[in-house]
């Protein structure tokens, strides 16, 4: 590892959560505008995390603090791996570990909503992880390597050879943003049927750390999506922005999608499309 890689890794560690917080702020402002509301300030997610950090409350289970910290470490590690140009597949597995820690922590709680949310978190993992995995395999097949630099070094946008990945990646963004379906494990929508699902038993500082882990996760997912048009840094930012905006629009026009629909229809359809794209690449 040379010094540049080290600096990039440190930059990833510090900037990714900050960028994730800004993405959350943009998400809330754009969502409000789509609903003809004014919405909160752009920095509202940072105030929310600051508020949660200042609240001292007894944890629902002593194990939760441990799992929250492991989830944060895994989420930040996936950002660091991407920033340092490491194996994207490894980044994907580390990021999946983070989601698993959140679910295991929620199982430790006493609330039935927390347990139900944890179960749905596992369903979610089952639904989007195969799609995401096949998407990364497709990208690696086209760019000729699994490291992030190979993905970003391709002369031609990957999108031209991977058009069938778009629905799958959008599905992953929607789920990782904790947007649709509304009854997903920890939806941002208020008054959903499982309160805050997997987050129900987390409170105070643990919840603040989980929010930061979530921001880091969102940055990883949007970063991997941006590989679809990675001819320059600007094109990557625009691609990530388009994925984010598309996810917000879909969330606002499909308010009544359920997790059953996600598991039975959307996940298989996206997986079939992504696999078809992979087979096409091999037969080419």
């Amino acid at each position: 590892m040379n010094l540049t890689t080290f600096y990039l890794a440190v930059a990833g560690l510090i900037l990714a959560p900050l960028l994730g917080g800004l993405v959350a702020g943009v998400d809330r402002v754009v969502t409000a505008r789509l609903q003809s509301r004014m919405g909160p300030p752009l920095l509202q997610p940072f105030y929310d995390v600051g508020k949660l950090w200042s609240k001292i409350i007894a944890p629902a289970s002593h194990w939760q603090g441990l799992f929250v910290r492991w989830a944060l470490v895994a989420s930040l590690a996936s950002d660091v791996l991407l920033a340092a140009g490491a194996d994207v597949l490894m980044c994907f597995f580390v990021q999946a570990a983070s989601a698993s820690f959140v679910a295991v922590g929620a199982f430790c709680g006493s609330s039935p909503y927390s347990k139900l949310g944890a179960q749905r978190e596992l369903f979610q993992l089952l639904a989007y992880e195969p799609v995401f995995l096949v998407a990364i395999l497709c990208m690696a097949k086209v760019s000729g390597g699994f490291d992030a630099y190979s993905f970003m070094a391709s002369q031609q946008p990957l999108l031209f050879k991977l058009p069938l990945l778009i629905p799958g990646l959008l599905f992953v963004v929607l789920v990782k943003l904790r947007k649709s379906p509304f009854d997903i494990s920890a939806s941002h929508h208020m008054h959903q049927e499982v309160v805050r699902g997997v987050y129900t038993d987390y409170a105070g500082r643990d919840f603040a750390l989980l929010e930061i882990a979530h921001w880091a996760d969102v940055v990883v997912v949007l970063w991997i999506c941006s590989f679809m048009w990675a001819t320059s840094a600007l094109s990557m930012v625009i691609t990530a922005g388009l994925f984010l905006f598309a996810a917000l629009v879909i969330d606002n026009i499909s308010a009544r999608l359920t997790w059953r629909h996600m598991l039975k229809v959307v996940a298989p359809a996206c997986l079939i499309l992504a696999t078809a794209n992979l087979l096409w690449l091999y037969m080419e």
Partner: protein, 144 residues
């Protein structure tokens, strides 16, 4: 003020509990979340979990059965917390105050910071109560 103290004022998460209201005040409370009033401008989110809540908005009269639930919800909220009693019933028991099964207003069971009169209370008045409560919280945080 430090960033953490400022955050507490700029991010009040609100929990609404219907103690036995006729639903008039509940509808007005939920109206605050619509595009017309949009309380999210102030960073307010309506949450369903007392462990995440900073402000408890209570509507309706208190009776011996829901008093226990009200105390339970209040005790689960982390400090510092605000309680807002909404509507005539929440403030004093309203027209039901003489009823045999009614204890009275919310302050018979838990300490109330801001009272919102009206039958039903207007959304503007409820939003004003939250802002007033945050002013009170700011004073407490500055003194600490």
């Amino acid at each position: 003020m430090s960033f953490l103290k400022t955050s507490q004022i700029k991010s009040p998460w609100l929990m609404h509990f219907d103690c036995g209201s006729c639903n008039g005040c509940d509808i007005e409370t939920l109206a605050c979340l619509t595009p017309v009033y949009d309380v999210e401008r102030f960073g307010i989110i309506n949450v369903g979990n007392p462990r995440h809540a900073d402000v408890l908005v209570v509507t309706g009269t208190v009776n011996p059965r829901n008093a226990e639930i009200l105390k339970n919800i209040y005790s689960q909220m982390p400090d510092p917390k605000l309680v807002i009693a909404v509507g005539a019933c929440g403030c004093s028991g309203g027209v039901f105050r003489e009823a045999p099964n009614v204890l009275g207003g919310v302050d018979k069971v838990i300490p109330v910071d801001v009272y919102v009169p009206g039958c039903p209370a207007k959304p503007e008045a409820i939003m004003d109560a939250v802002v007033t409560g945050l002013g009170k919280l700011k004073g407490i945080l500055e003194a600490s």
